[in-house]
């Protein structure tokens, strides 16, 4: 019996080795390995484009105060003080002072309604009861002008616009990670497991299709029990996954040392509740569970399909289910302890993602022991059923249309 197990393991490892090498030692694997970087780069490029457009528009924007020269100086001084509280992203547009003409209301309206649309908001009238006009996107600017009028009036009543308070600012570094930092880590874990699992399960399904189209499956089926082929494929792609996770894990562990201080500090705030080493172990465990569950299902589907089209059609429902799972798990990451989080943690196919999020949000370790046992139960169930369906699917399609046609021909005598 031991000999049989040893042989089955050796055969599975031979299949795994072939799949691993066939996947990793190809130029396309480099694309796969670097795909997260492409995502980041495309995201950054898109963000840069959007930011450039926004900044272009913001660079031309103005707010206008229609005020007599005696009031204008106080308004400008107050504006200068108020602007200090804004960050560069939120700072209001530059302030233009317009000397009132015969009809200040018409003057302000004309400014806002100007064809170029550069004036977001304009204010006129006495500071005690000013009128503010604003365009479609000028709500915040209008609020600012209201605040500016209020502060200017207060300064006038005090008789000075000079600052009265001289604060001392001291920067402190938080030792404890905030709840939002935990949430961010949870979301990261959910998305990482989801994307990795989906990519790798798709690859596994692809190798099955490859064997079909190359007719290698008959060679494998003759030499190796199909259960070993099934496990070999799972193990081979798992090796690919480990390589992928190892590469990006190494990058992630060093990334803070090369990032700007501000970004590095912000990233340092993204941390799991169970601590990074334990989280890394749990992440790996949940990734393995998720991969085995989803990979087995995709492999079964791959074994049933005879053509690429059938393969895509069969993969679609599972992909949709996975999208629902990631939706539930994301909700669980944002709302730990909620009903949706419970459901996501119990449902076998979302459980690994949701429990990884749980590890980021809560420091308790015992739920993970329960969850891993629960998931192991499902993994063994899916794999044992999967290996049987895989065998049935492969052999059923092995008959093939050509052979079926041949079998229908009569043989006389």
């Amino acid at each position: 019996m031991t000999g049989n197990y040893r042989r089955a393991l050796r055969q599975a490892m031979t299949v795994a080795r072939r799949d691993f090498i066939a996947t990793v030692f190809t130029p396309t694997f480099l694309l796969f390995l670097l795909s997260p970087m492409f995502t980041i780069l495309f995201g950054a490029a898109g963000g840069l484009g959007a930011s450039t457009v926004t900044q272009g528009a913001a660079g031309r924007a103005r707010i206008v105060v229609v005020a007599a020269p005696d009031q204008a100086a106080a308004i400008v001084a107050t504006d200068r003080q108020l602007r200090k509280v804004f960050g560069s992203a939120d700072i209001p547009p530059p302030l233009d002072i317009a000397t009132p003409s015969g009809d200040p209301a018409a003057q302000a309206r004309a400014a806002v309604m100007e064809r170029s649309g550069d004036v977001d908001a304009a204010i006129y009238g006495p500071l005690e009861k000013p009128t503010i006009l604003y365009g479609g996107n000028g709500q915040n600017e209008a609020d600012y002008l209201a605040g500016l009028a209020e502060q200017t009036l207060r300064a006038q009543k005090l008789g000075s616009t000079a600052t009265l308070s001289a604060p001392i600012k001291t920067r402190l570094t938080r030792t404890a990670v905030t709840a939002s930092g935990h949430n961010a880590a949870a979301l990261f874990a959910v998305m990482a497991i989801f994307l990795l699992t989906l990519f790798l399960a798709g690859l596994t399904m692809g190798t099955m299709a490859e064997e079909r189209s190359n007719k290698v499956i008959e060679v494998l089926a003759a030499a190796v029990p199909l259960e070993s082929v099934f496990f070999g494929k799972l193990i081979g792609m798992f090796g690919v996954a480990l390589l992928f996770v190892g590469f990006w894990g190494a990058v992630a562990s060093q990334i803070t040392s090369v990032l700007p201080a501000g970004v590095a500090t912000a990233l340092a705030g993204v941390a799991p509740a169970v601590g990074k080493p334990v989280f890394a172990l749990l992440f790996l465990a949940y990734f393995v569970m998720s991969y085995l569950l989803v990979g087995a299902v995709y492999l079964i589907l791959g074994a049933q399909a005879s053509t690429q089209r059938e393969l895509q059609m069969m993969a679609l429902p599972m992909t949709i289910v996975q999208m629902a799972n990631v939706g539930m798990s994301t909700a669980a990451a944002g709302r730990p302890g909620s009903t949706i989080a419970w459901i996501a943690e119990i449902f076998p196919f979302s459980s690994p993602m949701a429990m990884a999020a749980h590890a980021a949000n809560s420091s308790a370790l015992w739920p993970h022991a329960v969850a891993i046992l629960w998931q192991l139960l499902w993994v063994s169930l899916v794999i044992s059923l999967g290996a049987r369906w895989f065998r049935r699917g492969v052999l059923k399609s092995g008959e093939g249309p050509k052979r079926k046609r041949k079998q229908q021909q009569p043989a006389s005598s």
Partner: protein, 309 residues
């Protein structure tokens, strides 16, 4: 003295979609022999081989492979070339051979070394590092064949091994099969081309319509038909037919007819006395092809040959 059997099958049955494809086939392949499974296309040869190898399970019946009831347990000692050839196109030739060996328990390192040696012996030494997709169909087929023997199996099962090969490669394959037998292996192969079976097989089984119709040696198969005479008269004419047996056929200047149990001497005497004389006479034993036609049926054979083209 009973000879040990490398493969046995008793009453193998397989149904596909309610249709009986293999119907109670019995086989007994003596160890160390070259054994042919003959039959027209669709006879059930491939399904029988697949059941023997454990690729599919029979619906009924039993089989043993190298003395084991479970064929899988013998898989490391078996080589198999399926009818539908299949290799990974991106693999190098020597890796493909080593991979097939590794599936059967041969260490990769030895597999690679043997692959190079075998390819060199086969005249393909220059192509050891060629990717499979770069090889011609015949070369790829040869690579797969080498892959099926790289681990030096005790039993080599070849499903229609000659199909798709040119005459030179067919001859090479016959040599390889004999070499495998000389090494001590049992070779079991299926074919519907009689010439190869006639030259190679120590024993054979003929399957048609899912049933085994014959089992024995080539000589026994040929012995199922009477000897045949090719007679050429000195003076031909329609009257000759009246003297010759009723089933005599006129073929050019020759008359071909089966020789009855009492021989041909009396008939020749009668022909000579009737003035037709004997310009030529040859007596031949019918070939396996004729025996096959007789066993399987001419119609099924014609269909099989048409499909083989």
């Amino acid at each position: 003295m009973s000879q040990s059997l490398a493969v046995t099958a008793h009453g193998l049955v397989k149904n596909f979609g309610g249709r009986r494809v293999v119907d109670g086939v019995d086989l007994a392949v003596p160890t160390g022999t070259i054994y042919g499974v003959l039959g027209p296309n669709g006879a059930g040869k491939t399904t029988t081989l697949r059941m023997l190898l454990g690729i599919i399970e029979p619906d009924e019946g039993e089989r043993t492979l190298l003395g084991r009831d479970r064929p899988r347990e013998a898989s490391d000692h078996v080589g198999y070339l399926p009818e539908e050839r299949g290799l990974y196109p991106q693999m190098k030739a020597r890796e493909a051979i080593a991979f097939m060996g590794a599936l059967r328990g041969l260490p990769w390192k030895i597999g690679r070394k043997r692959a190079i040696e075998m390819m060199e012996q086969a005249g393909l030494g220059y192509a050891v590092d060629f990717k499979i997709r770069k090889l011609s169909k015949g070369m790829a087929q040869l690579v797969q064949l080498l892959g099926s023997v790289v681990h030096q199996p005790d039993l080599l099962v070849l499903d229609e091994p000659f199909s798709g090969l040119d005459p030179v490669n067919q001859e090479g394959l016959e040599r390889l099969i004999r070499a495998e037998q000389a090494r001590g292996a049992t070779v079991l192969f299926s074919t519907h081309v009689m010439a190869h079976a006639e030259r190679l097989c120590d024993r054979l089984a003929i399957i048609a319509g899912g049933k085994r119709r014959f089992e024995g040696t080539v000589a026994e198969a040929r012995g199922m038909l009477p000897m045949r005479a090719h007679y050429q008269p000195e003076r031909d004419g329609p009257e000759v037919a009246a003297i010759l047996p009723a089933d005599a056929q006129h073929n050019g200047r020759d008359w071909v007819f089966p020789i009855a149990d009492n021989g041909v001497e009396a008939l020749l005497l009668k022909l000579t006395q009737s003035g037709f004389g004997v310009a030529g006479l040859s007596i031949e034993r019918p070939g396996l092809h004729d025996a096959f036609v007789r066993i399987v049926g001419a119609e099924a054979l014609a269909q099989a040959e048409a499909e083989a083209l």
